[in-house]
Each structure stands twice: as C-alpha cells, then as structure tokens.
Symmetry: C2
C-alpha cells in the first residue's frame, strides 16, 4: 500500500500557498495564489487541486490552515468559516465548503498556528512531545497547541497572546500596543509593540539594545503562564521577532530564572535548550501545517477537526 | 448487564477517604482512615476494599486521587509514587503498587485536583464541557484540567497556581506569600496570602473589606491566563476561600472587564455566570474524583492513566 497523498491550503493575508504531497520531503506540486476576493482565490486553489487530481492521481483529504478568527465549532452551521476580519470580503467567508463540494474529499480546517503546531509535532521541532505548544512572535503573538494527539480547541481558539503579564512600569513606561488590553503580552512583546516603543523595528535594534532584555523577560513571563496552565513537554517559539538569534537563549535564561526551581524537572535546568526550541520547519510550517491537518482528516488518525 | 462497581481512594494530608460505588448517587460503602504512615494507611484502605470484595462482590478498578506531587509519567518506574513531600514518611511512597498487588484490578492514579476535574466533568459542574478546568483556592491554589476526555498531564502536572500576574504594587505592597516566587498568583491570592496580608483569615474579613476587590482581581487575572492558554468551555472555582459567597460574582465581573470584549463569545458577556461556576460536588469532589478515575481505568473509557 502506498502512502496517501494530501492537499494543503495555507490561507494567509497576502498569499495562499497550495501543495500536494505526503510530507516535507515529498511535495509533488505547489502553487502560490495572491489573496484576492474569497471566491476568486478559493476558486484558483480548487482548480490547482482539480488539475492534480485529473492529471496525477487521487488526493485523500485537504487541510486548510488559515488566518482567523475562524469558526471551529464542529456543531456550528458555519464551521470552517472565517468569522470577523478586517480583511475586505473575507468576513463570514466559507473556506471549507467550496473546497469540499468541488473535490468531494474530507476537509480539515484549523488556524495557521494550530496547523504549524501539528506540522512541527509531526515532522519538526515537536516530534514526540505531547502536549506541545507552538508560539509565534511576529506583528502579533499567537499560539497553537496539540494535546492528546489533537489540536486544542475550546470555547474559542486559545490564542495565548492576550494574557496579562506583569508590566515593568518603572523600566518600561510604554503603555502597550494592544487596542483591547493595552499591556497584555501581545501589547508589550509583539513586533508591533517593539516598533512603537522604540521607534524602530525589531530587526533594526542591535543586540546590546535595552529592548532585548525587556523582550526576553516579557516572553518568558508568557511562557511561564503556558507552562503553569498546560505543562507542555516542549515549546517552539518562532515568528519574525525570533529571527533575532540572540533572543531565544535570553528567553530560556529568563524562563529558568522565573521558575525559580519550583518545578524540579531537568527540562527546567540543564535541559532548557531542548525544552524551549526554535521551530524546525521555518517558512514551510504554514503549508506543511495544512498538509498535516489533511493527514489528520483521514479516518483513524483523528488528529484534526474535519467537515461532517 | 449491570454497571461496574468502582473503588475510590482519596488520599489527603489528614485523612484517607475510601468509597465503593458507581457514582455520587450510589455509594455502597465508605470509610475514613486517618493519614498515618503510608504502610499502615494504605494497608487499612486495602483491607476495606478486600472486605467489600469478599462480602459484597467484585470491584472493577480502583482510582486514587492524592495530594502530590506525584510521578504520573506512565513510562517511569516510579509511576504512581509520591515524589517529594514535607509529609513525614510519604516521600517516594508507592501509592498504586500496594493496592494493585493486593486487589489485582486496574489502578488509576492522579492528583486530587485532576480527580476533582474528572468528577465534576462526569457528574457535576463540568458536564458537557471539554476542555474543562477545576481550580481550587484554599491555603494554596491548584488546578486540574480535562482535555479531549482525559485529565491533562504534561512534562509535570500543570498546577496553575504559580503563574505570574500583574501585582498592583501601589495598592498592594504585600510582597507575596510564595516561598519560590513571592508574588505569583498563589503568592498573592491564596488563603495563606490573604491571612498574611491582612493579619486575619479570609473567613474573618467582611464583604466590604478591601481584601475582596484585590482578591477578585488577582483570581480573574489567573482565569484570564487559563482562558488565553487553554480556552476551557467552563471553569469551576472552588476551595475554602471561595466559600465567601460574594467572591465568585466579583471574579466573574473582573474576568469580563479584563477580557475587554476581545473574545467575542456569549460566555464572556451575558453567559459568564454559566462559564465561571462553583463546583457542584462540594466536599465530595475528592472521593468522587477517585471513583471517576477508577471508571476511566477500565479499558475502553481511557479517561485516566492506569498502571501498566
């Protein structure tokens, strides 16, 4: 028996990446579509998968990893829809329906961060770790988690970015960049927060800049909350801000310092380099996340939500 | 086919409660044993279950819900042991082994808070809610969670009490009561913290005392972290401090205020009274938690870790 072939659709704000394959080392077709109106964009994606199906063979399932917020409640009549988004035309757009109707295969939908968590768990930095958390620190801060083999969903998708952390006001009078909460984690530590606090983007700030000590501390406070609530076996931290390579080691030191020996596990001492890690799939995490969600949509795997 | 009968063993610091039954409305035998040395105490518990087995019929499985910290790693040779505890004689005590060897039935072990989470999910305030979180605010603060039908374990048991929340220093100069972190959530909001900050125990402070506004705020900050990371479908908050009945409504108001409309779900507006709730099983949550863990130890249910 040959391995089933899956389709992955990564829906991002500026582009949609579609791929067909079985995993990171076996991508058999790929295309990039600029994100325009939902009908045109999804139509072009469907055409790509239909072409593959007609010319090269069956696709077992399609996974969609999308910007959100999304309706991921399996009991909802609008499961697989975007809910509200400032992106013109995409509010209440049905992502899953057009793909499923056109291709007639199971369709899985999840957030881009949950997709990345599943992909990193399957093929990358999260292998063997359950629970596993993937956190991205870019313009905003978002997280995804895999628990008991499946992406975590709850009342809403847990986004992780909007938790409250102690704000070091004497050192950092910046009020925070979050329009809802001001100085939540995202408001204090996102790329947007860095740019507004210092008047320069993260990539322009040298290693000795005081921005980085503050950034490492805030991110570590967020990680400590994740550790306290979910106790993941590993956490991958990616996103644009983390491209500053000296940041991750600083975050690790702050995490160890904040835990203060309370949790007596080797991972929180000498093993911290293997506990708080960089993602392994890089820019590919999005479309590979979509592929991994598709793999989970095939009966028996059960690692993702699928259309009924 | 009649419903299987389970045994539950709640191991607390001062007493061990053992029960046999199928659920809260069908407890067929019960006993309370003062917590002494582990050998004597577990021996008395085993004798209780053996008597039931001999005189009244089979017990399908035994669940143990215990004070911790516990080794809950199924791959560990000391699974089901207490790890370190200040309680004399109980450090590295094997809880599961003596019970399993004497009775020859599957044995499930988990923390008391995870047991309570499973019991409240099965029979009480958490029915139909997954993920579900049970938080207890007493001398300390501890939490348990049920995700995808099973108690949550990770690298360590997620305890929830030691996350960092913003400390309102101008209003609250109290440095915090946690010996590890000072002003973590437990350090600021546990019963111990209240007693040390105000020089009087929680139950002695009247409703108009400034303690309560501060307490509601800190607990709400903890709940917001739990919501951000785990997105439970419901949270039950119990423990001695919550017996002050005006506290829960205050906590709810603070949670809504802190979320600030960012998460647009009815539960976080008009539905908050059904989202942050009091436990339903009261003092029975401990031994019922042990029973619920036993129910999960029977093959096919899969809702608890069992001895291999």
């Amino acid at each position: 028996m040959t391995a089933p072939v899956f389709g992955g659709l990564e829906a991002g704000g500026t582009k949609v990446v579609c791929a067909v394959g079985t995993g990171p080392d076996d991508i058999r077709a790929e295309t990039v579509i600029p994100t325009a109106a939902p009908g045109d964009t999804l139509g072009a994606a469907v055409a790509f998968f239909e072409d593959y199906f007609r010319d090269r063979g069956p696709i077992a399932a399609i996974g969609i990893a999308a910007f959100g917020p999304l309706d991921l409640d399996p009991a909802s009549p609008t499961w697989g829809f975007v809910t509200t988004t400032p992106k013109p035309g995409w509010g209440r757009a049905d992502l899953a329906g057009p793909v499923r109707r056109a291709l007639g295969v199971p369709v899985a939908v999840d957030t881009d961060v949950n997709g990345a968590a599943v992909a990193e768990h399957r093929w990358g930095a999260g292998r063997g770790a359950d629970p596993f958390v993937y956190l991205t620190v870019g313009t905003g801060i978002g997280g995804g988690a895999l628990v008991h083999g499946r992406p975590l969903h709850g009342l809403v998708h847990p986004e992780m970015g909007h938790l409250r952390v102690p704000h070091d006001l004497p050192v950092d009078p910046f009020p925070g960049a979050c329009p809802y909460h001001g100085d939540c984690l995202e408001g204090l530590a996102s790329g947007e927060a860095i740019a507004r606090r210092w008047g320069a983007p993260a990539e322009a700030l040298p290693a000795g800049h005081p921005a980085w000590e503050l950034e490492a501390r805030y991110l570590a406070l967020g990680l400590v909350a994740v550790i306290a609530v979910l106790s993941p076996r590993r956490i991958a931290v990616g996103g644009g801000v983390m491209r500053t390579t000296h940041l991750l080691p600083r975050v690790r030191r702050e995490v160890v310092s904040l835990l203060a020996g309370y949790v007596d596990a080797p991972a929180f001492r000498d093993g911290i380099d293997e506990y708080v890690v960089a993602p392994a799939l890089g820019e590919r995490a999005g479309v590979l996340g979509a592929l991994a969600l598709a793999a989970g949509a095939v009966p028996g795997d059960g690692s993702a939500q699928t259309a009924r």
